[in-house]
Symmetry: C2
Subunit: 321 residues, 2 copies
């Protein structure tokens, strides 16, 4: 099967909202009048962003999910995406699974494949996603205000925990491992929550490299500091049963510096606490308050007793890890 048959069979769907979809030199799109476009691009490399043990369905899902998570972080509504795919060889079983996982998540989010590229090479997936948002409504990393509460959606640490089990560094009961593995391999982008937080949150980003490191980026962009509590790591909705089964020191590692969580990290004024909970309830996602924005530029991490933790939580960096 050649390149053009491959695209026709696995990656062509009739254009729905696009003026022109897959097949010409460019896709054409008519933006809705007055809306801003939000654009993000992520590349996933085998062995770096995913293990070769992952099922193609879950990989197709994840490749789009990590991009939708960026739209969620801005509060944008997903519209469309392009897919560039480098494959070592044509494996139709793999392609069928990959495209099924991809299109399933795409359809659930009203996000249309409008174009892309297919080539031979090391397994690499690059998706660029487009969303829309009314001007001025985008949630940015730079909007945090002194006194804001800091929240995370869902729970943290499962993805890293599953990775450590794969690496042989930790052991888990089979049902807990499967649950953690699902979070690693098939993360759910918080698209609805991101949109619901427009006008409620002051700053927002998604957690991809680890909470402490990503919070550091948000603080730097906003020119503020923070006090991060960790009592929620002892027992809260932000910790899964699998992470909860670990000793406290390991829990902190997973939750504070795990990476691959794709949960939203956001700040909101204290008088928005009720609105935050309402947004979360409406989306069926838990949110947990994990600290407060402070003046200055320091990020202070407190233990359960309110004492500063001096150990470093090193975040993921593609050229340092």
């Amino acid at each position: 099967m050649g390149e053009f048959d491959l695209i026709a069979r696995y990656f062509s769907r009739p254009a729905r909202h696009a003026v022109l979809g897959v097949g010409d030199d460019c896709a054409l799109w008519q933006p809705q009048a007055g809306m801003q476009l939000a654009v993000s691009s992520d590349m996933l490399v085998e062995g770096r962003h995913f293990l070769s043990t992952v099922s193609p369905q879950r990989l197709g899902h994840k490749a789009l999910a990590v991009n939708l998570s960026d739209l969620a972080a801005c509060g944008a509504r997903p519209l469309a995406f392009t897919l560039a795919l480098s494959l070592p060889h044509v494996n139709e079983t793999w392609l069928q699974g990959f495209s099924a996982g991809l299109f399933s998540l795409a359809q659930a989010n009203g996000c249309e494949l409008i174009g892309g590229d297919t080539t031979q090479g090391p397994l690499t997936i690059c998706i660029t996603v487009f969303g829309e948002i009314p001007p001025g409504d985008a949630l940015l990393r730079s909007g945090a205000q002194v006194g804001d509460d800091i929240y995370v959606s869902g729970n943290l640490g499962d993805a890293r925990l599953a990775l450590e089990v794969f690496r042989g560094n930790l052991q888990l009961a089979p049902d807990m491992f499967e649950a953690a593995r699902l979070r690693l391999e098939q993360p759910e982008p918080r698209v609805a929550l991101g949109m619901a937080l427009r006008g409620v949150a002051n700053a927002c980003m998604d957690i991809s490299d680890g909470l402490v490191g990503d919070l550091g980026h948000l603080l730097k962009a906003s020119g503020v500091g923070a006090v991060l509590t960790t009592d929620w790591v002892a027992d809260s909705a932000a910790i899964s049963p699998a992470v909860h089964s670990l000793p406290m020191n390991k829990r902190l590692d997973m939750a504070l510096a795990g990476g691959d969580d794709y949960e939203l990290l956001f700040t909101a004024a204290p008088d928005q606490a009720h609105a935050v909970q309402e947004a979360a309830n409406a989306c069926g996602v838990s949110v947990t308050c994990i600290g407060r924005i402070s003046a200055g530029q320091q990020l202070q991490v407190l233990d359960r007793h309110g004492v500063a933790i001096s150990r470093r939580f090193v975040s993921f960096d593609h050229f340092s890890n």
Copy 2:
């Protein structure tokens, strides 16, 4: 140097037209009211799309050029692009050259880097480019009409010729090799010509996989056939001195099935012949008439004497070559 320093040092420029550029979860862009967006994505893999001998400057240029060429094929005006880059390791000399070549072409085309991704892995470059075009003005592959003249811009075959010299299959005088190599490594996207052909051409695409194969895609999309002449391969502006120096049989291979040309292939009604030449002159690019669209679905290639050539000109396919 870590991932974030790398992005800050080599791939961050102040946002010019973007509402928000590199650095947040998404870039934000305010589309011009009433315009359509044209979107294209291309992935370049080392050893597949470029040789490791290419200078980083030229590679940075080419990575964007092949995407701008897709915009040119639709007649769209370039606006912005995202860059996803997988690198085996951080090489600052390489990054400096690559970003210099990339930004030089970007600036010449008013095309702004608004976001992307950087990761460790096999050298792979994925660019997604955005352009704008008034609704209804886009040049499509599907617009060719029976009786249209078929044109190519610039000249064909140099890129493939240089590749064959690299492979040791052909020899060239040094100055001819350098000229051909420049076409392979640093193609000039025909952005101005594409825009000038709005309302003049009926169908258009860019030649990336080889003339005969790409023309086949255009004919299929338009539901028409064509008679392709080859007298222009004997002697015309569409053949460089380097290709001209080859025996006729090799010239045909290079010009008709070379690939990596990034010239425009377009059709226009015979009464537009003057307008086509005016558009070409205004852009300083030669155009050559190379055949005519016919009824039916057959692509007939004629030799210099008007006799049908039966040999096949196999085009580039990433999973067959």
